[in-house]
Symmetry: C2
Subunit: 292 residues, 2 copies
């Protein structure tokens, strides 16, 4: 099945359920309302004060007290919790889900989640993992944006046992929010994000630690370059702990390979091999210039 060239007219979902909205979940709901992706939007949030905030929002038709209540009768469910709560939440709503309901998520890692989700017994719903690569170091509903996914990549990660139709609908779902969709296996996804997201996070955190250990006052001299390079290190440590834990092996492999790259640079510096340094800088610039 060619997921990418499909042009059939878009059918809105009857009832979208968003569980545990933070920045991403609230943005999903806002974007679905704006794009008429779903007729009804029901949301559950664990915290009472978040639920109170949801009441009366134009992008929330019903605020629910429990995940089960929010998921009941939904044909599309998006679980937006931290990665370590995605499968437990999926398990919680099992009995409430309609047969054939599609469940997806926005977790930053996919292998463990998809494996565990598929291992749940007596399922009549379809689990199709998703990773919309949007957001920032900020978290929380207050930063949500109906256009958060526009022109942003979203990787959809079906496992082999999932039927074409729910995969297809999940892709359509993200396309309707403006995302550019890609299909990868959960394992390929995790290798990719280890390199382009998790490793950069650790590199930035390590740089902050390194500089802060060296001298407590150097931060007042930090320029725009240092600030850019370390910006992601301001991310929520508990969210990142869960992400790193669930993709530990791929990240470890990527970090090991990255250190080899640094060793090569160190050798070039030691040997005053400026030709090699220039080649590194030029290749780096060429790659970076391609990114918007």
């Amino acid at each position: 099945m060619d997921f990418e060239s499909d042009n059939e007219p878009y059918q809105p979902f009857e009832k979208l359920c968003v569980l545990a909205p933070g920045l991403l979940g609230a943005s999903v709901a806002m974007a679905c309302r704006q794009n008429r992706t779903a007729k009804q939007i029901h949301i559950w949030s664990r915290r009472a004060n978040s639920r109170a905030k949801l009441v009366g929002q134009s992008w929330c038709d019903q605020v629910c007290e429990t995940p089960e209540e929010a998921a009941a009768g939904a044909d599309m469910v998006v679980i937006c919790s931290p990665v370590d709560f995605i499968v437990p939440l999926y398990n919680d709503i099992q009995s409430a889900l309609s047969e054939g309901a599609i469940v997806t998520d926005v977790g930053s890692t996919k292998s463990l989640i998809c494996r565990q989700a598929n291992a749940l017994e007596n399922r009549t719903s379809h689990f199709v993992g998703s990773h919309p690569m949007a957001g920032s170091e900020k978290s929380g509903m207050d930063f949500a944006d109906a256009d958060l996914f526009v022109n942003r990549p979203c990787i959809v990660t079906p496992t082999e046992n999932v039927a074409d139709q729910p995969v297809h609908k999940t892709i359509q779902f993200w396309k309707s929010l403006g995302a550019v969709t890609f299909v990868e296996t959960p394992e390929a996804h995790d290798e990719i994000v280890a390199h382009i997201s998790h490793l950069p996070h650790l590199i930035a955190a390590a740089l902050c630690n390194f500089v802060s250990d060296k001298h407590k006052n150097w931060e007042q001299l930090a320029g725009g370059g240092f600030k850019d390079t370390t910006r992601v290190a301001a991310g929520d440590p508990s969210l990142w702990k869960a992400i790193i834990e669930s993709n530990r092996e791929e990240i470890n492999r990527a970090l090991s390979d990255y250190q080899e790259e640094l060793h090569r640079i160190q050798s070039a510096l030691t040997n005053n091999n400026m030709v090699q340094i220039v080649s590194l800088l030029e290749q780096g610039k060429q790659f970076r210039d391609q990114l918007s």
Copy 2:
């Protein structure tokens, strides 16, 4: 002498000379005009088309054909060339300089430049190194901005043999452009920037190389975090080559220490020591949150 607490009224310079204006040099001239830091501003640029662009700019009173012509009679000279041309340019203008003229620069490294500048014989001018930490991965006059230095750090790096008065005036000069000034030895400066500027540049370039070697198409999946972390790698390789070459030993030391930090992270990942990973993330966030 307490450079920082000085409040004596500011005396504008009679004639400012800016040599080799790019982003920084043109911004210096624009800022000096805006803040009335100098009565006359004379500029020399190596390229004829740059000189043509300068003619008629409100922040340029005279465009000169040679560095000597621009420097003649100036009481303040700012050399804005790439680091490897700063001392050669200082040498070129020696004979044209008035006795007691102050010469400074905007180079990103200081030890080698200050050592070589001080070694020039028969000097009647004062050389006081400066490093305004402003600018971006963009280069060239077209990006110049009269407010580029406002609230940005500028490290002034006098050597022991320089009299207080020219140091004092150099500090006043940068303060008049809105910079927040710091005084360090050239060696301390180079250690600092190796950590907060040059190492981050190499880390970013290495990350670009690493990812581009892994898979040519991953860049289309890169999110905001990856783009931030690698932004500086878009900088001009020839400028950065000169910077790295002139601060090679400090950078090598910093890179070596940084790799120890990465080794610790790798051990924590290998041993599934998430307590250590969380501590790293929390310390990193704490440090990063202090930066604006």
